[in-house]
């Protein structure tokens, strides 16, 4: 498979703050590549540099073999972008907006076909201002698709949407994947990344700290399952790390503790035996399979949605 996006040593500084610190990655044709990280981690700055909205302080970007920094005009024809908050003229109709954006490109898809893709056919004559949040987001997606782009950038495509609208957008993205478009998706919803992405890169403080498929990230972290509970003890990290079946102990907010392990059942038994024996009070116990959220937490010590 050919490489559609190749980023090398990308760096961006704001004063003394290095927002993006020497990042490199490559994305193959047809992949949905997720950039995960908390707000301020540098994901938006990274994609905005690739899109051409911001100038990097260092590094190279190549999109389908074209040098993006040297030939931005050529890049604009082959990429589609959905910004985190796109807004257009209040009094423009949905179909008009799609036609307008289509007219900016050398080649474009007919608006009726786009309306089908994002299922906005029944709203095609509605003013932009009258659309709901989910409909606006789908229109933003439609505008990103008008030029039938090979590479698509989706920046937080479902942030602020209700579950139903979110599932709608996911359905559209999954269909695009079938057309072997290459997609860069930034999100802070773990569920979204796990569901959609072929691979994810976890970004924290301007650096990529891990890149792999969502499953591999979870397996290789050794955190296949987790036990969360409340505990009054002050120094529980030290306390539980001594248990033989425990992989990792992480302190959460409000007195909660998370233990990651390979085998929940064995660890749970060891934990309860240990706490009963030593008269340690634990309560509100939850066990579940580990998610990307847990991987992130164990790598950075912080939650994604802080």
């Amino acid at each position: 498979m050919s490489v559609d996006i190749e980023v090398k040593n990308l760096t961006k500084k704001y004063g003394t703050l290095t927002a993006v610190d020497n990042i490199s990655f490559s994305i193959k044709n047809g992949e949905i590549f997720g950039l995960l990280g908390p707000n301020g981690a540098g994901k938006t700055t990274t994609v905005e540099m690739i899109e051409g909205l911001r100038k990097p302080d260092g590094g190279t970007i190549s999109i389908t073999g074209i040098d993006a920094l040297a030939r931005p005009e050529k890049i604009k024809e082959i990429i589609g972008v959905q910004l985190q908050s796109t807004s257009i003229y209040n009094k423009i109709r949905v179909k008009e907006a799609i036609d307008l954006f289509g007219s900016y490109y050398k080649k474009s898809i007919p608006s009726d076909k786009i309306l089908d893709i994002v299922s906005l056919n029944d709203k095609k004559n509605a003013y932009y201002a009258t659309l709901s949040g989910g409909q606006k987001q789908r229109l933003a997606l439609a505008l990103a698709l008008v030029n039938d782009p090979q590479v698509l950038f989706l920046d937080e495509p479902t942030t602020g949407l209700d579950p139903q609208a979110r599932r709608n957008v996911w359905g559209i993205i999954e269909n695009l994947k079938k057309e072997s478009k290459t997609i860069i998706l930034t999100t802070h919803y773990m569920e979204e990344a796990e569901k959609l992405c072929s691979r994810v890169a976890i970004i924290d403080m301007g650096k990529i700290i891990a890149t792999d498929t969502p499953e591999n990230l979870i397996i290789s972290s050794g955190l296949e399952s987790s036990i969360e509970f409340e505990c009054d003890e002050f120094d529980f990290e030290k306390l539980f790390n001594g248990l033989s079946s425990v992989g990792k102990v992480v302190k959460l907010d409000n007195g909660r503790c998370a233990i990651y392990a390979k085998n929940n059942a064995a660890t749970l038994k060891e934990l309860t035996d240990f706490t009963t024996e030593n008269n340690i009070n634990i309560k509100n116990i939850n066990t579940k399979s580990a998610t990307l959220e847990d991987v992130f937490l164990s790598m950075t010590g912080r939650k994604l949605r802080e």
Binding site: E51, G52, L53, E73, K76, E77, I79, V81, L83, S85, T86, S87, I88, Y89, K91, I92, E96, L100, F101, S103, Y104, Y105, K106, Y127, L143
Partner: protein, 247 residues
């Protein structure tokens, strides 16, 4: 060129759908013209030895140009910029010259429509006579349009958000209106205000327009007025090109 044309068409379409835009740019100056016409009727101002409505009519045209060039341009552009419309457009191949060019041309078209409406009402309903040439009248409107549009775009370079855009453009608008002597002569102002007045473009555009409408003067008589307005255009245009902000 095709894109420029389509963009101008779009701007006009959006204008016709916006009640506020139509109210402020078309209904408001028209209302002024009708109101002044009904108030003054054939009242004669002895000091100037002419009808009050003849004296006031050019000022109403300048007022209309300022509504579009300053108020509508500043609030409209700052709001669209704040919403990130220009940022989104910058990701498409459309040229920025086409975007800004279409805005200037579309505003200019609105200004011509305003001038025509006011002139038609003034001449047909209130017997105002245009004594000079219509060509020169059009030329002054065009110079005025350029002047207020470049001033408006200059203002967008330092106004950050839509909330402050309205009050700031109001201040500039009213300042230019009252100190420019649009509705009462600046000779009645105290000396220091009169000095300020003599610097403002509204004063000189208004004087030039009066010369055409009332005195029927030719272009040679108003070289000083046009020169001062020209200086404003060059200054505002230069500064706004230098400091222009798309985001």
């Amino acid at each position: 060129m095709k894109i420029l044309g389509r963009q101008i068409l779009l701007e006009n379409k959006l204008f016709l759908r916006s009640f506020e835009d139509i109210f402020w740019t078309l209904a408001f100056p028209t209302f002024f013209m009708v109101l002044y016409g009904l108030i003054y009727r054939d009242t004669v101002w002895e000091d100037f030895n002419m009808r009050a409505i003849d004296y006031t009519m050019p000022g109403i045209i300048i007022l209309a140009l300022m509504v579009t060039g300053i108020m509508a341009t500043v609030t409209g552009f700052v709001e669209d910029r704040q919403k990130g419309i220009y940022r989104r457009l910058s990701l498409t191949p459309v040229k920025r010259q086409a975007i800004i060019g279409s805005q200037i041309i579309y505003r200019y078209i609105i200004m011509l429509v305003q001038t025509i409406i006011i002139t038609v009402i003034a001449t047909l309903a209130f017997n105002v006579k245009i004594n000079g040439s219509y060509l020169l009248l059009w030329a002054i409107i065009t110079v005025g349009a350029l002047c207020f549009l470049s001033l408006g775009f200059l203002m967008t370079t330092f106004i950050k958000n839509a909330r402050t855009a309205t009050p700031i453009s109001m201040i500039v608008f009213f300042g230019l209106m009252f100190l420019g002597g649009l509705f009462f002569p600046n000779t009645i102002m105290p000396d220091f205000l009169n000095k300020i007045s003599l610097v403002l473009p509204s004063t000189h555009l208004n004087n030039a327009l009066r010369m055409v409408v009332i005195e029927g003067s030719g272009i040679k008589a108003m070289w000083k007025e046009l020169l001062i307005t020209g200086a404003w255009i060059v200054g505002c245009l230069g500064l706004s090109i230098k400091f222009f902000k798309w985001e």
